[in-house]
């Protein structure tokens, strides 16, 4: 399998939950060159994002089928260009999720921890501002679309200084 093919296979946009342990284990399974695996798991929080007003009882994640996968693949490809990586896995769920549910998984394998830590954070920061997902929160007052946060733009922008 080509390097590019391997990167693209590592992206999944799905309704189903995932097993964090399995995903982490798969990143280094059967290989002796991986010295570090860094991972991030994003979860639905009851007071998600808005921080004020009513508690969130559930949220629905909408996405743009086709573009969402492509944008995640592009982010992973960019990470491969910036760091020395041996494997990646990005899973993002869509549909209805409740507090405590997993939303997103990013796992990165490399020889040394520096590359794994940095690439994992980079992928998350870029995903937050570039991958077409939209959250709608359910509250006692009805549905409420989540507003984009400037802090996410700043988090993504700090990686540009590396160019």
């Amino acid at each position: 399998m080509s390097e590019i093919q391997r990167q693209f296979d590592s992206v999944a946009v799905q309704e189903a939950d995932f097993d964090v342990g399995d995903e982490i284990a798969t990143l280094s399974a059967g290989r002796a060159d991986v010295g570090a695996v860094a991972s991030f798991v994003g979860l639905v929080r009851a007071d998600k994002l808005s921080g004020e007003g009513s508690a969130v009882s559930a949220m629905t994640l909408e996405h743009y089928p086709g573009m969402t996968e492509k944008s995640l693949e592009a982010i992973v490809t960019e990470a491969y260009g910036r760091w020395s990586l041996l494997g990646t896995r990005v899973i993002h769920r869509f549909g209805r999720l409740v507090p405590g549910d997993r939303i997103v998984f990013v796992g990165v394998a490399s020889s040394h921890r520096g590359d794994a830590f940095a690439a994992c954070e980079f992928i998350m920061d870029y995903l937050k501002t570039r991958a077409p997902f939209w959250k709608k929160e359910d509250t006692p007052e009805g549905g409420r679309w989540v507003d984009a946060r400037e802090a996410d733009d700043s988090a993504a922008a700090r990686w540009d200084a590396w160019d």
Partner: protein, 84 residues
């Protein structure tokens, strides 16, 4: 020139459409032209008006207003993304 236009999230709800196929009148060359053309429908379509925080993609690539539109393009309008 005919294009497919998709709308997502609160924009889809506001407009009441998830997609439409449009035959564009002469004079629409760029994404910005198309957006202004749609906003000109008035009413709920003013959600696409100047100054509104709307992002767009052509053929599933996020692009700016100066990019040219071509026959059979898939064009999408949506609010800033909030995944992760």
């Amino acid at each position: 020139m005919s294009v497919k236009v998709l709308y997502f999230a609160n924009l889809r709800e506001t407009l009441g459409y998830s997609h439409e196929t449009l035959t564009l009148p002469a004079g629409i060359a760029t994404l910005g032209d198309l957006r202004a053309h749609l906003a000109h429908r008035g009413g709920v379509w003013e959600a696409l008006g100047e100054g509104r925080n709307v992002r767009a993609a052509i053929n599933q690539e996020m692009v700016g207003p100066d990019v040219a539109v071509a026959d059979r393009d898939e064009i999408a309008f949506f609010p800033p993304v909030t995944g992760g």
